[in-house]
Amino acid sequence: MVYTAVLTLLSHWRRHPGQLLTLVAGLALATALWSGVQAINAEARASYAEAAATLGQDQLSRLSRADGRPVPLADYIALRRAGYLVSPVISGELRDGPARLRLLGIDPLTAPPQTGAPALEGEALDLAAFFTAPGLLLMTDETAAGALPPDLPPIVLRDTVPPGAAITDIGTAARLLGQADPNYLLVAADQPAGLPPLDEARDLRLQGPSTTADIGSLTDSFHLNLTAFGLLSFAVGLFIVHAAIGLAFEQRRATVRTLRALGLPLRTTLVAFGLELAGLALFSGALGLVLGYAIAAALMPGVAGTLRGLYGASIPGTLSFDPVWALSAIGMTLAGAGLAGLQALRRAAQMPILAPANPRAWAQASARSMRMQALAAGTLLAVGVGFAVVGGSLEAGFATLAALLLGAALILPATLGLILRLASRSARGALSEWIFADTRQQLPGLSLALMALLLALAANIGVSTMVGSFRETFTGWLDQRLAPELYLSIADPGEAESLLAFVRPRAEAVLPIVSTEIPLAGRPGEVFGQVDHATYRDHWPLLAAAPGAWDRVADGEALLINEQLARFAGLTLGDVLEITPDLSLPIAGVYSDYGNPTAQASVTLTRFTETFPDVPVTRFALRVPPEDAPALASALRDDYGLPPDGVVNQAQIKRFSLSVFEQTFSITGALNVLTLGVAAFALLTSLLTLATLRLPQLAPVWALGLTRARLARIEVVRSLILGALTFALALPVGLMLAWVLLAIVNVEAFGWRLPMTLFPIDWLRLFALAMLAAALAAALPALRLARLSPTTLLKVFAHER
């Protein structure tokens, strides 16, 4: 019986293939966007987890020097000779122009089992070749196919090595990096009996296993961002599904009544509806998965580029297929379809068995339900404001966003109703009064689609405002910060003398740049040493500065920190920051430092070299008259013999920095367009649904003399007006969104706050897009109306509907 019932219900779709298409497309789109975003996130997370598990960092403690310098080889040997099971790692980066390769040199002979040294498993490795020069590099084929520094040892492909990195013998790493001392020691979980605890053993710092990868917490914001977009798209997709299912149900009232009258039990009817919905959801979900995979695969290289550029996180630019991902996406589709079809099922359940098969426009929202919705919206908005005020975390930031968006969407129908009621007072003549009245009557049916449109528009405005503000601030900051005309780098610190002798007579100033990575206030950080020069005094934007800040820094009595460090660690002017046990200085200023999530501190070069005598100066910034820069650059290459990438001019760096940001926001842009497209589609399906249901309302107007063409034009205009009103409401919501993104989410995610800039031209463009979407959505129903057979309209009277 169920089978027959399902067949009967399904016959509807055979007669309405367009509706079927809408339903399937809606579900598939919702699934696609959601699953696509999830796939990207999952890939990236897996990659972070892998990176965190590299060399067992997630399970093993490490020993390193408090000042961040390598552990002297003699100290390592002394620990081994004392009986401790520690294993050395030499890590570093090989650079050649844009080519980068992170080397992880391990000692497989002493590496604890948790190290896994996964890359050493698998195909038999020529161990003699691994241990002896030139050695072997283990890396993924993707890394191997990318830009690599020249003159590398032979490469062996292993897919378990983190992207952008190569695992090799410590001897090979030592030779390639020119460093004999291990950067840190891995500590075996179990130590032999009878040894004193390791943390008393030496002046080395013992760090516990890092359970969450630093990079994971840095990139959380990015993934939350993607997830938020994915959810938004999913919600918008469900609006479409809701509309399509609602329509299909209305159209099948007669069928259902007939089935029930023929004796089909209510339970079986509901089961049949459920089965139909599940089947459709499964089919559309599968389709959506394929689409989602395609979207993710297309976005993946961009995402990888962004994460690398912005956070230094390496993830593969390719996507792997994960069955768990597919299952969860299908599950999400089923749940979503169930939610969207709930109303239809409830109606089917409540329908009296012999009720007239009376299709009618969606129930008009009573004043009461409208008030309820407005009340819920008000609560949500209050919650949003509450989160914004309490704040303090990324989650709170996104909760603010969600509450604001949802609240604004829920309050939309009431607001539109109010506007229409106010506008109708100025209506002159029966026709315009009818138009207003009819529009208000349609509001409940269209409200879901309009809410979707509002969400999409607001997200668009918010994100583009954020991106625009970001870009403007960032380019301004780059111009200011990158004042030196040329940047030089040398591979061999011994070369510094001769290079300086060459450039000193030719440049107005030579500014050494030296830095070392060291944790600051417990976070990954970097310390810079710089000379006192007008370049810094004039161009470094200080967000906060104590009196005479630059002089105090120059005297070695104070230091500067970046905004990120100040925010994360809650440091203010005058606080003392400990860089190493030997170097603690008060903070004299806070500088802005966009495009970098890590903490930074800057001290005078003298202080730096006192504290880190082993860090060589291999980078220099040159001040020359801008017009002389190209000539000096070519002189350095041709006459002095610096390799081409040893000289970089300011413009190149700016271009590179900007390209990283453009890449970041191209993903946001792509998701934005997709969301807007989905919203337009939702509007179209709602209008199509209404078009069929509204015949009883249109027939009398037509009978009174309005032509079908005129009615159709009115439909389009109405859609445009509703679109415009929605846009008008979306604008403040979008700006609010931008503010939350800039003032809350960004600060939490990156540690910097950007001034908000408004871009009215963008709004105009978006307004045009919204109008286009509304017009396009209304076009098809309007066209149908214009071509509607008069008999169809007459039937309304004949059937006394």
């Binding site: 040997i77 009986g83 002979l109 002493t110 089992p113 161990l127 013998d169 032999p192």
Partner: protein
């Protein structure tokens, strides 16, 4: 370190005790030196490493007794394996080192392993004053000695659950196996340089999970180096060092060949250190009983016969489960000897993986 890597490493590093999967070592010397007959020894230099040879070891076994009469056994081994016939300073030195330590009680057997590379000081051997070490495991000359550099040694090792610290004093000379130290290992003529100090008396302390136990006993140090000690057809070996109550000693080994054949060799050592080497076939080693050890069947009781000396003894293990649970595992433990020549000794069996 993963097992596969370790196994592969041991193929590089292993002495003939790990005969299985011994490609690369069985046949080719590949640029390495090979022992030539006659050998001339130069001490104390020859107590130190011979990097021009592919493999080498310092292998000590001790049979010990506690005041309550309980027997124990201790093993301390340092293997050297060269990737290239040269030494160097720093990470890229092509010399790999492996240490094995074992401690056998009647109820338990403990084992531990350490790996290291040469060139950085983590492991190595110096001949004068003598010191062999890997991490905190060490076999070093105890005092400035007047006689041989190996005459007085201090021995330490530590595992997760055990440790020992022993003091060794030699009361006899070094002895040389085969033809004055040129020890042939197969009918095809593969050979190694092989000498021993079988005359140590031992005092010291072993540390068990239950606590420290003072012990006394005797010990035997083997020194061997080569570059291609095994024939390709050989699968493993069964080796004994026997100390008879009358003061004489016997070193014997039986190399198992894939076709079921055996290649045997023995050295009879009088109490005063005079030796007689026996060629293939003179010594007979016959398995008498097998035991299930670490999931495999291992012949833990043997009949050892050397008719020329009227020797016909059977050996029983102190602990049949004397399994060295290291990356390439083998059986090594103290034994008791009964028959024509009662005494104690050590048994090593490899290739039963």
């Amino acid at each position: 370190m993963n097992v596969r890597l370790a196994a592969a490493l041991l193929c590089l590093i292993s002495p003939p005790v790990f005969a299985q999967g011994f490609a690369g070592l069985g046949t080719e010397a590949g640029g390495f030196a090979v022992p030539e007959n006659p050998l001339t020894f130069d001490f104390p230099a020859d107590h130190g490493p011979h990097p021009e040879f592919r493999i080498e070891w310092w292998y000590l076994t001790a049979t010990l007794t506690a005041p309550d009469g309980t027997d124990y056994g201790v093993q301390w081994t340092l293997f050297r394996s060269a990737l290239a016939p040269m030494t160097a300073e720093g990470w890229e030195a092509p010399q790999l080192w492996m240490g094995h330590a074992g401690l056998t009680t009647p109820e338990a057997h403990f084992s531990a392993e350490r790996l290291a590379r040469g060139g950085i000081g983590q492991a190595g051997v110096t001949p004068d004053p003598f010191a062999a070490w890997i991490d905190d495991w060490a076999m070093v000359a105890r005092d400035p000695v007047s006689g041989d550099a190996l005459d007085a040694l201090a021995l330490t090792a530590r595992g997760m659950e055990f440790a020992y610290a022993l003091s060794l004093t030699a009361n006899g000379p070094l002895i040389f196996h085969g033809d004055a130290g040129y020890s042939v290992k197969s009918a095809e003529g593969q050979a190694s340089a092989y000498y021993s100090q079988p005359f140590y008396t031992v005092t010291g302390t072993i540390t068990l999970p239950e606590g420290d136990v003072p012990v006394t006993g005797s010990a035997w140090l083997d020194r061997e180096w080569s570059s291609q000690p095994l024939s390709e057809a050989q699968e493993g070996w069964d080796w004994v060092s026997l100390q008879f109550d009358d003061g004489a000693r016997l070193m014997g080994f039986s190399l198992r060949e894939a076709d079921g054949g055996r290649y045997t060799s023995a050295t009879w050592i009088e109490a005063d250190g005079t030796t007689q080497a026996y060629p293939d076939g003179a010594l007979r080693m016959t398995p008498l009983a097998e035991a299930q050890v670490a999931g495999r069947s291992v012949p833990v009781e043997w009949r050892v016969e050397l008719p020329d000396r009227g020797l016909d003894v059977t050996t029983t293990p102190l602990n049949p489960q004397s399994w060295m649970d290291v990356t390439v595992s083998y059986w090594e433990g103290p034994i008791r000897i009964a028959g024509t020549h009662p005494g104690r000794g050590y048994l090593e069996m490899t290739g039963y993986e």
